[in-house]
């Protein structure tokens, strides 16, 4: 994957381009609709789902509250189990550690388990610069990698592609990366999966080094857990001699027992399945079985920054299920690329600013990429109150501009509104003017709204034209409610 999200425009501009792509809109509406229905059905089967959500959130909160202790415990248990533990402050340090391990074994390729964190740190690009090819082995990641594309969903990174597009990518690109797709390839999903299996098998059998992430890291036993559907992860985790796992420090779970609610919440929330097909766990090195050299890179990369935010830290509970993406009406229409990050959707809109900090225009646009409808919070298996964090982050964005020498038009408007709304007499004066304006606008308006009100028609100016380009706006009434109440004593005279 050579394309990156670096240099993406702010959300509104990126969304505008995505909204114009009717094929994308169709693919997304279909795919998110299917996953939404599957999730809803399997969640409804669980009688105590709300209790399970509370239990899952509590486990993650316990882990985060005493993160330092759990991480030290994790390191000790991993080391005792024969693993080598590395600590990485940021993406560059983590990538360098993985490259060093790979180079120590003289390899020019690694196989990869699907992992969000390695995408977050740009590992494939960093390894490519060192002359090491990183092969994605998850089917959807393979589609994205072969297509020189970018992931647009946490769980289903090629959700923006339909099977006809996937067939074309396989036919065109597989030969350049290894075993070519058969010439008679159809767009039947089973046939496409078969071609991917053949293509990947030679890589699994050849690779000396594998790279993974981890869904959970159990401090008590030094056990990493990978949850997956395709079995490609199991291949990567067992066949190669060397395994390097990059793990965000928020993935720690204090004890084995506390894994229970999380393993029940995750598959139902992500793929809409009662259980995921493969759950792999390993605790360091097992002599004679599986990789004989095991490395674990514990990564910060902004997580301690997020942890320091007393409202935002709940985002570190995220188990990357992507339920919030699938229920989000914004995501469904714009797709994931508009968010300019490997973490798109509602969780991306909070996670990116929390990890990176606010201040960059693209990052600062993300907390506003939401209508605050609350569907994400309702779906989140670990009860992250995403709307609350969005509003909190908006205030951080605004506060970051409080010392601007030239304030934004929005800031001026908000100050003016606050002035008018701080005194009812001022508001009444504004309404009197708007009533007059309404009479004028109504006279020139092109339409009568159903029900009798005059429409104001298309109005120039930044805010007003953004509204009236596709929506009629009623002309303000001649008399406000408060003026009516005063004139008629609340309708009594």
């Amino acid at each position: 994957m050579s394309r990156t999200f670096v240099g993406m425009p702010a959300f509104p501009a990126a969304a505008r381009a995505a909204l114009a792509d009717t094929q994308l809109r169709h693919n997304l509406a279909h795919a998110t609709g299917v996953i939404r229905a599957k999730r809803a059905a399997v969640v409804a089967e669980v009688e105590n789902w709300e209790e399970l959500r509370l239990a899952g959130a509590a486990v993650k909160d316990r882990a985060l509250r005493d993160l330092g202790t759990h991480l030290v415990d994790l390191e000790a248990a991993l080391t005792a189990g024969g693993a080598t533990v590395h600590w990485a402050r940021d993406a560059a340090e983590a990538c360098a550690i993985v490259a060093t391990v790979a180079k120590a074994h003289g390899v020019d390729e690694v196989v990869k388990v699907k992992s969000m964190v390695t995408q977050e740190i740009g590992l494939n690009e960093a390894l490519a610069e060192e002359g090491i090819a990183a092969w994605e082995t998850d089917l959807a990641e393979l589609i994205v990698q072969l297509g020189d594309d970018l992931p647009s969903h946490i769980l289903v990174p090629a959700i923006h592609r339909n099977r006809a597009e996937i067939r074309e990518i396989f036919l065109r690109e597989m030969g350049g990366a290894g075993r070519p797709a058969p010439a008679d390839l159809t767009d039947d999903p089973a046939v496409l999966a078969g071609a991917a299996r053949e293509h990947l098998r030679e890589k699994f059998l050849r690779a000396k080094v594998a790279v993974s992430g981890a869904n959970f890291a159990i401090a008590e036993t030094g056990t990493l857990v990978v949850v997956e559907s395709e079995g490609n992860g199991r291949m990567c985790l067992t066949l190669p001699e060397v395994l390097v796992s990059v793990v965000g420090i928020e993935k720690v779970v204090p004890t084995w027992a506390e894994l229970d609610p999380l393993l029940r919440l995750l598959p139902r929330s992500s793929t809409g399945e009662r259980m995921n097909p493969y759950t792999s766990t390993w605790s360091g090195v097992t002599p004679g079985d599986g990789p004989q050299e095991v490395h674990v890179v514990l990564l910060d990369n902004g997580r301690t920054r997020a942890l320091a935010d007393d409202v935002g830290r709940q985002a570190l509970r995220c188990i990357r299920c992507s339920a919030c993406l699938n229920v989000c009406p914004v995501y469904e229409r714009t797709g994931g690329h508009a968010y300019g990050s490997v973490y798109p959707g509602p969780i991306g809109a909070i996670l990116n600013p929390l990890l990176k900090g606010t201040g960059d225009p693209q990052t600062d646009s993300l907390p506003y990429a939401s209508s605050l409808c609350g569907a994400c919070f309702e779906a989140c298996p670990v009860r992250i109150d995403i709307p609350e964090v969005l509003v909190h982050l908006r205030s951080k964005v605004v506060d970051g501009h409080r010392d601007d020498t030239v304030p934004k038009a929005e800031a001026v408007a908000m100050k003016a509104a606050a002035y008018a709304f701080s005194d009812a007499r001022r508001l009444a004066a504004v309404e009197k003017v708007s009533g007059l304006a309404g009479r004028v606008l109504g006279r020139f308006g092109r339409a009568t709204l159903p029900g009798g009100r005059r429409a104001a028609g298309r109005i120039p100016g930044p805010g007003a034209s953004a509204w009236t380009s596709a929506r009629d706006l009623p002309a303000p009434p001649a008399e406000s409610f408060r003026a009516w109440w005063k004139r008629t004593d609340g309708g009594r005279r």
């Binding site: 509104p12 914004v330 569907a375 509104a417 303000p476």
Partner: protein, 248 residues
């Protein structure tokens, strides 16, 4: 019981008929509702855009206007949600313990209209008559922030003459979202277009909801599309009777 009408800034300035309908309805049910003239806005536009400092004087105005009432009734799920769930945040930001205390008084006394009717007055049949084909859109904040549940539907089901039809994908956001409608206008319109399409599919004459701002957005699209569907606030339908029809 002293009951105050919190009409909301949107209804005050743009949709006064909604406020009048609440007054008509509550008086018919024997509630002598007052309109504290010092009220302005719930401060949600500032809070949800990130302007917490600007929200402080607005929340102060709110608690001053509504101090001492037993119930504050508002024809808006969103503004009720703001008063109940956001005022405490703004008060904390102010660092003023008096404001924190005042908000703790007014927040729990704030009711969205359907909550006040069903939970406080204990009525679902409000004696309304509205002989039209109607579809109901549950607005996000009433549904997911306040949890009004099926209270609006229970009220509508008791309206004489009404034909209620289900709205497909009813619980999906209409795309208004306050300043989202302008800051992300393209996405907002894309969401609104789907909502308007679902409304037209029902064949309803009237789209009803508990928030005028959402209705302004969807209604603006339905109007631009010359759909002929009109939008009405829940209060207007509940206020309508055989003798006093609202907007024909």
């Amino acid at each position: 019981m002293r009951v105050a009408l919190m009409v909301t800034c949107v209804n005050d300035a743009m949709f006064p008929e909604t406020g009048k309908a609440v007054v008509t309805l509550l008086r018919r049910l024997g509630v002598d509702v007052e309109f504290p003239a010092a009220q302005t806005c719930c401060a949600q536009p500032m809070v949800n855009t990130g302007y917490l400092d600007e929200a402080v004087p607005v929340v102060r105005t709110f608690v001053d206007a509504f101090a001492g009432y037993d119930a504050i009734v508002t024809p808006s799920g969103s503004c009720a949600g703001s008063a109940r769930h956001q005022h405490a945040l703004v008060a904390r930001r102010s660092g003023d313990p008096d404001l924190v205390a005042a908000v703790a008084e007014t927040s729990p006394k704030t009711y969205e209209l359907s909550e006040f009717l069903v939970d406080v007055l204990g009525v679902t049949d409000v004696g309304a008559y509205f002989p039209h084909r109607v579809t109901y859109h549950p607005t996000c904040h009433s549904l997911r922030m306040l949890g009004v549940g099926d209270r609006p539907q229970r009220l509508l089901e008791q309206v004489r003459g009404i034909r209620l039809v289900d709205l497909p994908s009813a619980e999906e956001c209409c795309g208004f979202g306050g300043t989202f409608a302008v800051k992300n206008a393209d996405t907002s319109v894309a969401m609104g277009a789907d909502k308007a399409r679902h409304v037209r599919e029902t064949g309803a004459e009237v789209l009803v909801a508990g928030d005028s701002s959402c209705l302004m957005h969807v209604g603006g699209m339905l109007s631009r599309q010359q759909s002929g569907v009109r939008v009405m606030h829940l209060a207007e339908i509940l206020a309508a009777t055989e003798t006093a029809q609202v907007r024909g």
